[in-house]
């Protein structure tokens, strides 16, 4: 299982990647914004964890573009963001995000959301 972790904060990327390693996923690729994520996305990626607020291309913009790419239509996208008002959550859903984690998060919440999306990622 290969994860693409997208966040402009190097601290957050490291925290997410360490959390993934802790729950048994060590194959990860990093990107610091949506544009870089698109350039690194290929058919080997099974799961995407993305932030919302980033320079050049936000997480929602990235997800919208991703959903137009053949393999990107089905890859699970988990958004991890500080944004937490209802309108934002609905906007993320409309963009094609499959689930949503509010920062600051606990490893248990991350594991729960990943577990819920794993069947789709493995398909």
């Amino acid at each position: 299982m290969k994860f693409l972790v997208v966040d402009d904060s190097a601290t957050m990327r490291r925290i997410v990647i360490n959390s993934l390693q802790r729950i048994g996923f060590s194959d990860t690729v990093e990107a610091s914004d949506g544009q870089e994520a698109l350039s690194k996305f290929d058919t080997s990626i099974n799961f995407i964890i993305t932030d919302w607020n980033m320079p050049n291309m936000t997480g929602t913009e990235f997800t919208k573009v991703l959903r137009t790419i053949p393999h990107g239509v089905s890859v699970p996208v988990l958004m991890v963001t500080a944004r937490s008002v209802k309108e934002d959550i609905l906007t993320a859903m409309e963009a094609g995000v499959n689930n949503y984690i509010v920062k600051p998060f606990t490893p248990a919440v991350l594991k729960e959301k990943i577990d819920a999306l794993l069947p789709a990622a493995a398909a």
């Binding site: 601290t11 802790r22 089905s74 699970p76 959550i89 600051p104 998060f105």
Partner: protein
């Protein structure tokens, strides 16, 4: 109409009124010129002076009224924005302190676990199962310390928002200053590197993460997401 757009409208009105006064003062200046300005005296005679003064007085009254409105609008806008910024900066302080305390608490617990592991090692028959549990707990504590560092991302967004508000306030103050002198140039560098709006959430907070997560979960549960 928002307070912000009202403030801008009042600023423009004040500027227009000031231009009228400026023109009136030019007329007066022309009327007050001595003999060489004969052509001028032909168009503005001494008899016109009361009328010109009355017009100037009226326009000055208008300017003052507009300035009062401008001040009031600016005051309320500035107060709200600066108060919100002040609150954000205070939250940064408290989030930083909370994170530091959480990390220190985890360090204390980790140290205690290391002491317990030392004691187990020193025993004649070390309890390997107990040591295994303690090592697992120690890893949890270390991981907790790492998780506490998420405050850095959130406080960074809060500071970006505060920075953007300050840049906006600077721009507004420059507009007000320009009302009094349209040729005014600011000879000190202005802030041009306001953080891009898309890089931060103005509402970012470290508070009530559980409640906010529950809201997100509730929405995702109630509105069926198409299967990936």
């Amino acid at each position: 109409m928002t307070t912000t757009s009202r403030a801008q409208e009042v600023l423009y009105e004040s500027e227009a009124a000031l231009r009228l006064v400026d023109n009136g003062i030019d007329d007066l200046r022309g009327a007050a010129q001595p003999a060489p300005q004969e052509n001028r005296l032909m168009t503005v005679s001494l008899g016109d002076l009361p009328l010109i003064l009355e017009r100037a007085n009226q326009q000055i009254q208008n300017v003052l009224a507009h300035l009062r409105q401008t001040r009031s609008a600016l005051q309320s806008t500035a107060f709200e924005k600066l108060q919100a910024t002040h609150d954000k900066i205070r939250e940064v302080t408290s989030a930083t302190e909370d994170a530091a305390i959480n990390i220190m608490d985890a360090c204390d617990r980790a140290n205690n676990i290391v002491d317990e592991l030392d004691a187990i090692d020193a025993a004649e028959t070390p309890d390997k199962a107990q040591a295994l549990n303690l090592r697992s707990t120690l890893r949890d504590e270390i991981f907790l310390m790492m998780g506490a560092l998420q405050f850095q991302d959130i406080t960074s967004q809060q500071l970006s928002h505060a920075s953007a508000v300050l840049v906006e306030m600077e721009s507004r103050l420059a507009e007000v200053a320009a009302l009094f002198d349209s040729g005014l140039t600011i000879d000190r560098p202005t802030f041009t590197n306001a953080p891009a709006e898309q890089t931060y959430d103005p509402n970012a907070t470290t508070r009530n993460a559980e409640g906010r997560q529950a809201l997100a979960d509730g929405i995702f549960t109630s509105i069926r997401v198409p299967a990936a």
